[in-house]
Homo-oligomer: 167 residues x 2
Protein backbone atom coordinates (compact mmCIF):
# COMPACT_ATOMS: atom_id res chain seq x y z
CA UNK A 1 0.00 0.00 0.00
CA UNK A 2 1.32 3.41 -0.96
CA UNK A 3 0.93 6.30 1.45
CA UNK A 4 -0.19 9.81 0.85
CA UNK A 5 2.69 12.25 0.94
CA UNK A 6 2.82 15.99 0.39
CA UNK A 7 6.28 15.73 -1.11
CA UNK A 8 5.37 13.13 -3.68
CA UNK A 9 2.17 15.01 -4.48
CA UNK A 10 4.18 18.17 -5.15
CA UNK A 11 6.54 16.47 -7.57
CA UNK A 12 3.77 14.67 -9.43
CA UNK A 13 1.77 17.91 -9.62
CA UNK A 14 4.69 19.83 -11.05
CA UNK A 15 4.96 17.19 -13.72
CA UNK A 16 1.25 17.32 -14.48
CA UNK A 17 1.10 21.10 -14.53
CA UNK A 18 4.11 21.47 -16.83
CA UNK A 19 2.51 18.93 -19.13
CA UNK A 20 -0.74 20.90 -19.31
CA UNK A 21 1.08 24.18 -19.82
CA UNK A 22 3.04 22.68 -22.68
CA UNK A 23 -0.17 21.50 -24.35
CA UNK A 24 -1.62 24.98 -24.06
CA UNK A 25 1.59 26.41 -25.45
CA UNK A 26 1.47 24.03 -28.40
CA UNK A 27 -2.06 25.21 -29.19
CA UNK A 28 -1.18 28.87 -28.97
CA UNK A 29 2.11 28.83 -30.83
CA UNK A 30 0.59 26.70 -33.58
CA UNK A 31 -1.37 29.84 -34.46
CA UNK A 32 1.87 31.62 -35.34
CA UNK A 33 3.42 28.54 -36.93
CA UNK A 34 5.75 27.62 -34.08
CA UNK A 35 6.19 24.77 -31.64
CA UNK A 36 6.67 25.42 -27.94
CA UNK A 37 10.36 24.53 -28.24
CA UNK A 38 10.92 26.95 -31.11
CA UNK A 39 9.13 29.70 -29.26
CA UNK A 40 11.20 29.00 -26.14
CA UNK A 41 14.33 29.70 -28.18
CA UNK A 42 12.88 33.04 -29.26
CA UNK A 43 12.15 33.80 -25.61
CA UNK A 44 15.79 33.12 -24.76
CA UNK A 45 17.01 35.36 -27.58
CA UNK A 46 14.69 38.10 -26.35
CA UNK A 47 16.75 38.04 -23.15
CA UNK A 48 13.71 37.49 -20.94
CA UNK A 49 15.06 37.97 -17.38
CA UNK A 50 12.51 35.56 -15.94
CA UNK A 51 14.08 32.55 -17.61
CA UNK A 52 15.87 30.38 -15.03
CA UNK A 53 18.89 30.23 -17.33
CA UNK A 54 19.46 33.98 -17.03
CA UNK A 55 19.03 33.86 -13.27
CA UNK A 56 21.71 31.21 -12.96
CA UNK A 57 24.27 33.14 -14.97
CA UNK A 58 24.48 36.57 -16.55
CA UNK A 59 24.94 36.84 -20.29
CA UNK A 60 26.18 39.99 -21.93
CA UNK A 61 26.84 38.63 -25.40
CA UNK A 62 24.27 37.17 -27.77
CA UNK A 63 23.58 33.51 -27.10
CA UNK A 64 25.10 30.57 -28.95
CA UNK A 65 23.46 27.27 -29.86
CA UNK A 66 25.41 25.43 -27.18
CA UNK A 67 24.06 27.75 -24.50
CA UNK A 68 20.52 27.13 -25.69
CA UNK A 69 21.22 23.39 -25.55
CA UNK A 70 22.37 23.78 -21.96
CA UNK A 71 19.36 25.82 -20.92
CA UNK A 72 16.77 23.64 -22.64
CA UNK A 73 18.62 20.54 -21.49
CA UNK A 74 18.79 18.95 -24.94
CA UNK A 75 21.59 17.98 -27.32
CA UNK A 76 23.38 20.49 -29.52
CA UNK A 77 22.32 18.51 -32.58
CA UNK A 78 18.71 19.05 -31.63
CA UNK A 79 19.25 22.78 -31.27
CA UNK A 80 20.83 22.89 -34.74
CA UNK A 81 17.57 21.56 -36.18
CA UNK A 82 15.39 23.98 -34.24
CA UNK A 83 17.59 26.90 -35.23
CA UNK A 84 17.45 25.94 -38.90
CA UNK A 85 13.67 26.16 -38.79
CA UNK A 86 13.79 29.61 -37.17
CA UNK A 87 16.41 30.80 -39.65
CA UNK A 88 14.22 29.66 -42.57
CA UNK A 89 11.29 31.52 -41.07
CA UNK A 90 13.57 34.56 -40.81
CA UNK A 91 12.75 34.97 -37.12
CA UNK A 92 16.40 34.84 -36.06
CA UNK A 93 19.77 35.55 -37.62
CA UNK A 94 23.14 33.98 -37.06
CA UNK A 95 26.52 35.69 -37.21
CA UNK A 96 30.08 34.79 -36.46
CA UNK A 97 31.75 35.75 -33.22
CA UNK A 98 34.57 38.24 -33.72
CA UNK A 99 36.86 36.71 -31.11
CA UNK A 100 36.30 32.98 -31.56
CA UNK A 101 35.72 31.61 -35.03
CA UNK A 102 34.12 28.40 -33.73
CA UNK A 103 31.23 30.33 -32.27
CA UNK A 104 28.08 31.57 -33.91
CA UNK A 105 25.91 34.09 -32.15
CA UNK A 106 22.15 34.24 -32.51
CA UNK A 107 19.87 37.23 -32.50
CA UNK A 108 16.20 37.96 -33.12
CA UNK A 109 15.29 39.66 -36.40
CA UNK A 110 12.74 42.47 -36.44
CA UNK A 111 10.21 39.86 -37.48
CA UNK A 112 11.20 37.72 -34.48
CA UNK A 113 10.90 40.64 -32.09
CA UNK A 114 7.49 41.49 -33.53
CA UNK A 115 6.33 37.93 -33.00
CA UNK A 116 7.47 37.88 -29.39
CA UNK A 117 5.70 41.19 -28.81
CA UNK A 118 2.53 39.89 -30.41
CA UNK A 119 2.30 36.77 -28.23
CA UNK A 120 3.34 38.51 -25.01
CA UNK A 121 -0.07 39.86 -23.85
CA UNK A 122 -1.80 36.50 -24.24
CA UNK A 123 1.00 34.71 -22.42
CA UNK A 124 1.10 37.17 -19.54
CA UNK A 125 -2.69 37.11 -19.38
CA UNK A 126 -2.73 33.37 -18.76
CA UNK A 127 0.14 33.61 -16.29
CA UNK A 128 -1.57 36.27 -14.21
CA UNK A 129 -4.89 34.47 -14.31
CA UNK A 130 -3.21 31.31 -13.00
CA UNK A 131 -1.28 33.01 -10.22
CA UNK A 132 -3.92 35.44 -9.00
CA UNK A 133 -5.32 34.95 -5.54
CA UNK A 134 -1.97 34.37 -3.89
CA UNK A 135 -0.05 36.96 -1.91
CA UNK A 136 3.34 38.24 -3.01
CA UNK A 137 4.88 36.45 -0.03
CA UNK A 138 3.32 33.17 -1.02
CA UNK A 139 4.43 33.59 -4.59
CA UNK A 140 7.95 34.40 -3.46
CA UNK A 141 7.95 31.22 -1.36
CA UNK A 142 6.93 29.11 -4.37
CA UNK A 143 9.59 30.65 -6.52
CA UNK A 144 12.26 30.10 -3.88
CA UNK A 145 11.11 26.51 -3.54
CA UNK A 146 11.33 25.91 -7.29
CA UNK A 147 14.72 27.56 -7.54
CA UNK A 148 16.13 25.59 -4.65
CA UNK A 149 14.94 22.31 -6.14
CA UNK A 150 16.51 23.28 -9.42
CA UNK A 151 19.76 24.27 -7.80
CA UNK A 152 19.93 20.91 -5.99
CA UNK A 153 19.29 19.05 -9.23
CA UNK A 154 22.07 20.94 -10.98
CA UNK A 155 24.68 21.28 -8.26
CA UNK A 156 24.18 18.07 -6.33
CA UNK A 157 24.15 15.70 -9.23
CA UNK A 158 26.32 13.15 -7.37
CA UNK A 159 23.90 13.02 -4.46
CA UNK A 160 20.95 12.51 -6.84
CA UNK A 161 22.76 9.73 -8.65
CA UNK A 162 23.62 8.01 -5.37
CA UNK A 163 19.89 7.40 -4.81
CA UNK A 164 19.68 5.63 -8.13
CA UNK A 165 22.28 3.13 -7.10
CA UNK A 166 19.56 1.67 -4.92
CA UNK A 167 18.00 0.20 -8.06
Amino acid sequence: MINKSIEESIVLSIFDLANQLKKIGDDVYLKVGLTTQQWLILLHLSGNPNLPFFKREKHVKDLMASELAESLNVSRANITNLINVLLEKKLIKQFEDGQDRRKKRLRLTKKGIALIDKTQPSRLGVIHFLTEGFSTEQKQTFLTFLEECMSKLINEDDKIKSFHKLI
Copy 2:
Protein backbone atom coordinates in the same frame (compact mmCIF):
# COMPACT_ATOMS: atom_id res chain seq x y z
CA MET B 1 12.41 45.67 -22.68
CA ILE B 2 10.90 42.83 -20.71
CA ASN B 3 10.36 43.26 -17.00
CA LYS B 4 11.12 40.93 -14.15
CA SER B 5 8.01 39.29 -12.79
CA ILE B 6 7.57 36.73 -10.04
CA GLU B 7 4.61 35.21 -11.83
CA GLU B 8 6.41 34.65 -15.10
CA SER B 9 9.45 33.36 -13.20
CA ILE B 10 7.27 30.81 -11.44
CA VAL B 11 5.76 29.47 -14.64
CA LEU B 12 9.09 29.29 -16.45
CA SER B 13 10.68 27.59 -13.43
CA ILE B 14 7.95 24.97 -13.28
CA PHE B 15 8.65 24.21 -16.92
CA ASP B 16 12.37 24.00 -16.33
CA LEU B 17 12.06 21.85 -13.22
CA ALA B 18 9.66 19.38 -14.83
CA ASN B 19 12.05 19.11 -17.74
CA GLN B 20 14.98 18.29 -15.46
CA LEU B 21 12.94 15.79 -13.47
CA LYS B 22 11.89 14.02 -16.65
CA LYS B 23 15.53 13.72 -17.74
CA ILE B 24 16.45 12.20 -14.40
CA GLY B 25 13.49 9.85 -14.68
CA ASP B 26 14.60 8.78 -18.17
CA ASP B 27 18.04 7.93 -16.78
CA VAL B 28 16.68 5.95 -13.87
CA TYR B 29 13.96 4.01 -15.64
CA LEU B 30 16.34 3.14 -18.46
CA LYS B 31 18.04 0.93 -15.87
CA VAL B 32 14.92 -1.22 -15.63
CA GLY B 33 14.19 -1.01 -19.37
CA LEU B 34 11.38 1.54 -19.18
CA THR B 35 10.74 5.08 -20.36
CA THR B 36 9.32 7.70 -18.03
CA GLN B 37 5.94 7.46 -19.79
CA GLN B 38 5.78 3.69 -19.41
CA TRP B 39 6.72 3.92 -15.78
CA LEU B 40 4.07 6.60 -15.22
CA ILE B 41 1.45 4.13 -16.44
CA LEU B 42 2.68 1.59 -13.92
CA LEU B 43 2.43 4.25 -11.22
CA HIS B 44 -1.19 4.86 -12.19
CA LEU B 45 -1.99 1.15 -12.12
CA SER B 46 -0.39 0.93 -8.67
CA GLY B 47 -3.11 3.32 -7.55
CA ASN B 48 -0.64 5.84 -6.12
CA PRO B 49 -2.84 8.31 -4.19
CA ASN B 50 -0.42 11.17 -4.82
CA LEU B 51 -1.17 11.27 -8.53
CA PRO B 52 -3.22 14.35 -9.41
CA PHE B 53 -5.58 12.17 -11.43
CA PHE B 54 -6.66 10.26 -8.33
CA LYS B 55 -7.13 13.47 -6.37
CA ARG B 56 -9.45 14.87 -9.02
CA GLU B 57 -11.70 11.81 -9.07
CA LYS B 58 -11.96 8.58 -7.15
CA HIS B 59 -11.55 5.29 -8.98
CA VAL B 60 -12.75 2.05 -7.52
CA LYS B 61 -12.38 -0.13 -10.60
CA ASP B 62 -9.17 -0.95 -12.42
CA LEU B 63 -8.19 1.73 -14.93
CA MET B 64 -8.86 1.64 -18.67
CA ALA B 65 -6.62 2.92 -21.46
CA SER B 66 -8.91 5.90 -22.04
CA GLU B 67 -8.54 7.00 -18.44
CA LEU B 68 -4.77 6.83 -18.71
CA ALA B 69 -5.00 8.92 -21.87
CA GLU B 70 -7.01 11.51 -19.97
CA SER B 71 -4.61 11.61 -17.04
CA LEU B 72 -1.43 11.75 -19.12
CA ASN B 73 -3.10 14.18 -21.50
CA VAL B 74 -2.26 12.19 -24.63
CA SER B 75 -4.25 10.43 -27.35
CA ARG B 76 -5.78 7.01 -26.85
CA ALA B 77 -3.78 5.74 -29.82
CA ASN B 78 -0.60 6.67 -28.03
CA ILE B 79 -1.67 4.81 -24.90
CA THR B 80 -2.39 1.71 -26.98
CA ASN B 81 1.25 1.67 -28.06
CA LEU B 82 2.60 2.20 -24.56
CA ILE B 83 0.32 -0.52 -23.18
CA ASN B 84 1.46 -2.98 -25.82
CA VAL B 85 5.04 -2.54 -24.70
CA LEU B 86 4.10 -3.13 -21.06
CA LEU B 87 2.01 -6.17 -21.98
CA GLU B 88 4.94 -7.65 -23.90
CA LYS B 89 7.19 -7.10 -20.90
CA LYS B 90 4.53 -8.83 -18.81
CA LEU B 91 4.42 -5.92 -16.37
CA ILE B 92 0.66 -5.45 -16.77
CA LYS B 93 -2.30 -7.56 -17.80
CA GLN B 94 -5.49 -6.67 -19.59
CA PHE B 95 -8.94 -8.18 -19.06
CA GLU B 96 -12.44 -7.50 -20.26
CA ASP B 97 -14.92 -5.56 -18.19
CA GLY B 98 -17.85 -7.73 -17.05
CA GLN B 99 -20.48 -5.01 -17.48
CA ASP B 100 -19.37 -3.23 -20.66
CA ARG B 101 -17.83 -5.25 -23.45
CA ARG B 102 -16.18 -2.21 -25.05
CA LYS B 103 -13.97 -1.73 -22.02
CA LYS B 104 -10.70 -3.37 -21.11
CA ARG B 105 -9.33 -3.03 -17.61
CA LEU B 106 -5.64 -2.94 -16.80
CA ARG B 107 -3.82 -4.30 -13.79
CA LEU B 108 -0.22 -4.75 -12.66
CA THR B 109 1.20 -8.26 -12.75
CA LYS B 110 3.31 -9.53 -9.85
CA LYS B 111 6.32 -8.61 -11.95
CA GLY B 112 4.94 -5.11 -12.38
CA ILE B 113 4.29 -4.70 -8.67
CA ALA B 114 7.80 -5.95 -7.91
CA LEU B 115 9.25 -3.38 -10.29
CA ILE B 116 7.31 -0.51 -8.73
CA ASP B 117 8.45 -1.66 -5.28
CA LYS B 118 12.05 -1.85 -6.43
CA THR B 119 12.14 1.71 -7.82
CA GLN B 120 10.18 3.26 -4.95
CA PRO B 121 13.03 3.87 -2.43
CA SER B 122 15.20 5.64 -4.99
CA ARG B 123 12.31 7.79 -6.16
CA LEU B 124 11.21 8.78 -2.67
CA GLY B 125 14.83 9.42 -1.73
CA VAL B 126 15.20 12.00 -4.48
CA ILE B 127 11.82 13.55 -3.67
CA HIS B 128 12.66 13.98 -0.01
CA PHE B 129 16.09 15.32 -0.76
CA LEU B 130 14.58 17.94 -3.06
CA THR B 131 11.84 19.04 -0.69
CA GLU B 132 13.79 19.02 2.57
CA GLY B 133 14.39 22.32 4.28
CA PHE B 134 10.83 23.59 3.88
CA SER B 135 8.21 23.50 6.60
CA THR B 136 5.05 21.44 6.28
CA GLU B 137 3.07 24.69 6.03
CA GLN B 138 5.21 25.92 3.18
CA LYS B 139 4.94 22.63 1.38
CA GLN B 140 1.18 22.57 1.85
CA THR B 141 0.88 26.11 0.49
CA PHE B 142 2.95 25.13 -2.48
CA LEU B 143 0.84 22.04 -3.19
CA THR B 144 -2.33 24.11 -2.93
CA PHE B 145 -0.88 26.54 -5.42
CA LEU B 146 -0.10 23.80 -7.92
CA GLU B 147 -3.51 22.22 -7.49
CA GLU B 148 -5.32 25.52 -7.94
CA CYS B 149 -3.39 26.27 -11.13
CA MET B 150 -4.26 22.84 -12.42
CA SER B 151 -7.89 23.23 -11.52
CA LYS B 152 -8.05 26.56 -13.37
CA LEU B 153 -6.45 25.01 -16.43
CA ILE B 154 -8.96 22.18 -16.45
CA ASN B 155 -12.16 23.90 -15.36
CA GLU B 156 -11.72 27.34 -16.87
CA ASP B 157 -10.73 26.30 -20.32
CA ASP B 158 -12.90 28.97 -21.94
CA LYS B 159 -11.25 31.72 -19.96
CA ILE B 160 -7.78 30.44 -20.93
CA LYS B 161 -8.76 30.27 -24.58
CA SER B 162 -10.12 33.81 -24.48
CA PHE B 163 -6.59 35.06 -23.82
CA HIS B 164 -5.39 33.35 -26.96
CA LYS B 165 -7.82 35.27 -29.09
CA LEU B 166 -5.50 38.23 -28.51
CA ILE B 167 -3.08 36.64 -30.97
